[in-house]
Amino acid sequence: MNLIAGKRLPAPPPFLKKMVGAGMRHCPFALKKQLLTPLLQTVFAQSVADGDLDFLRSRRIALRLDDFGECLQLSFDGRRLTPVAPTRTADVIIGGNSEVFLLLATRSVDPDALFFNRRLTIEGDTELGLAVKNWLDSLDEEQLPPWTRQLLALTRRWQTHAA
């Protein structure tokens, strides 16, 4: 499991990327919001309950998937973490290829290493970006729903084989 930033990162196969990219581009925002909101709600329920997302109230973070050219903005309204329509620039924009985000999700690589190696970019409000990073780092996997944990375990196995 020793994935080192700086080496070639395990990437999803090109056909999968094309499919997902096309899906994201053609999906209207209202549908994205409808699909993602309940998903975000179950995955991060503990964080909301603990008040760990309060720093995101009325702030916007954007996750920019560079290989898809797609950007997702998120905010917290006090009860739920939801996608928001990109009516203004987000306070902080975190950018990288999809494989970088997958590595971050599975905690296979240190985020700072990816940032130092320029595979991850943070622009805008650095304090907010760091708060997001620290919040994600502090998530105990045991807080996540079982299906999420299983998905992460599967992704880790694939990453080890694909590396």
């Binding site: 080192i4 700072d112 650095t126 620290n134």
Partner: protein, 331 residues
């Protein structure tokens, strides 16, 4: 030698414990410790869980209350010391004389370690802290050469802990004012060097620019590794040249020196990085555990493995890892 690992969060603590740390060090969610970043550190719930997790596996817990309080906030530092004592942690790491005095008087059973921020670089300083506060251990500043470390260890009245791995800076421990010069806040009294709210990164055609309170600290061209903008590690124009006038961004890696450090009588190796991720802690702890175990088996025949060095290089800030101040051939 005891392996002392950083824990900025509960997952990081578990990563340290699971990968073979002998002790973990952590802080509360406020400015009583020198890693006061949003979202970092432990609240009451994660503290209780973390301490329980570590204890069940025989791993010791140190709590850092190592910043310098101002008169107005003093009750916060008292509360932090009281809480550490109530939790019956294995040691409190402190630097300020008032904090040490309060802890020694109010909680005589609480073991005290002198933080690196206390900057004790000679035997007389160590004797002073031991005589007045009963410290059991001191963390040596990273500005001493190996020869100096040996000299101090030979006469030290207390156990010594040294940094073995992590980011380096100008290391004016407990005294650095570069951050407050630019941002108004220093690690000494506010618990943070180069606070994130003063930091800006911008991707420009010329490269990635890093700024601290709008002062341009560095510009990284394509292929150059970037870093967190601290004033000491910036590149500045001096005359006709632009270079790292104060300090080069490098990381410390002393695996090569394990035999020498053990021979000098060092009791513990400290890993820097409470602000780093669980992945960092897992990788660094497992490498150092393997190194210490191999040293214990092979003694003088000990030789670091290439895969260890590769893993450590992968999570290091800057372009290289060095022996830092330990190597001073001119001495």
């Amino acid at each position: 030698m005891e392996l002392v690992c950083p824990a900025g969060s509960l997952p990081a603590l578990k990563a340290a414990v699971d990968n073979g740390a002998d002790a973990v060090y952590l802080g509360f969610k406020d400015d009583t410790n020198a890693r006061h970043f949003a979202g970092l550190n432990f609240n009451d719930r994660t503290l209780a869980q973390g301490i329980d997790y570590a204890r069940r596996r025989g791993v010791r817990i140190f709590i850092a209350v190592n910043t310098y309080p101002q008169p107005r906030g003093w009750s916060r530092w008292q509360a932090a010391v009281d809480q550490a004592a109530a939790l019956r942690v294995d040691a409190l790491i402190a630097a300020d004389i008032g904090v040490l005095g309060y802890a020694a008087e109010q909680h005589p059973h609480l073991a005290l370690h002198l933080s690196v921020q206390g900057s004790a670089t000679n035997v007389e300083a160590l004797k002073f802290y031991q005589r007045n506060f009963g410290i059991r251990r001191a963390v040596l500043p990273r500005v001493l050469s190996l020869a100096q470390v040996r000299q101090i260890a030979a006469k030290s009245p207390v156990d010594l802990e040294v940094f073995g791995f992590g980011s380096l800076c100008v290391m004016a421990e407990g005294r650095c004012h570069l951050s407050s010069y630019v941002t108004g806040e220093s690690p000494n009294s506010c618990g943070v060097c180069s606070p994130a709210k003063a930091v800006r990164w911008q991707e420009t055609p010329a490269g990635r620019e890093s700024r601290l309170s709008d002062v341009l600290i560095d510009r990284f061209g394509a292929g150059e590794n970037a870093g967190y903008p601290t004033l000491c590690k910036g590149r500045f124009q001096v005359g006709d040249a632009t270079f790292h006038a104060l300090e080069e961004p490098t990381s410390l890696n002393t695996i090569d020196l394990l035999p020498e450090l053990a021979a000098a009588g060092i009791k513990a190796i400290k890993i820097e990085g409470r602000q780093r991720s669980p992945a960092y802690v897992a990788q660094v702890t497992s490498v150092w555990r393997a190194a210490l175990d191999e040293f214990a088996r092979n003694g003088e025949q000990f030789s670091p493995r290439k895969e260890w060095m590769d893993i450590l290089a992968g999570v290091s800030e800057g372009s290289q890892t060095t022996l830092g101040a330990y190597s001073r051939p001119w001495q």
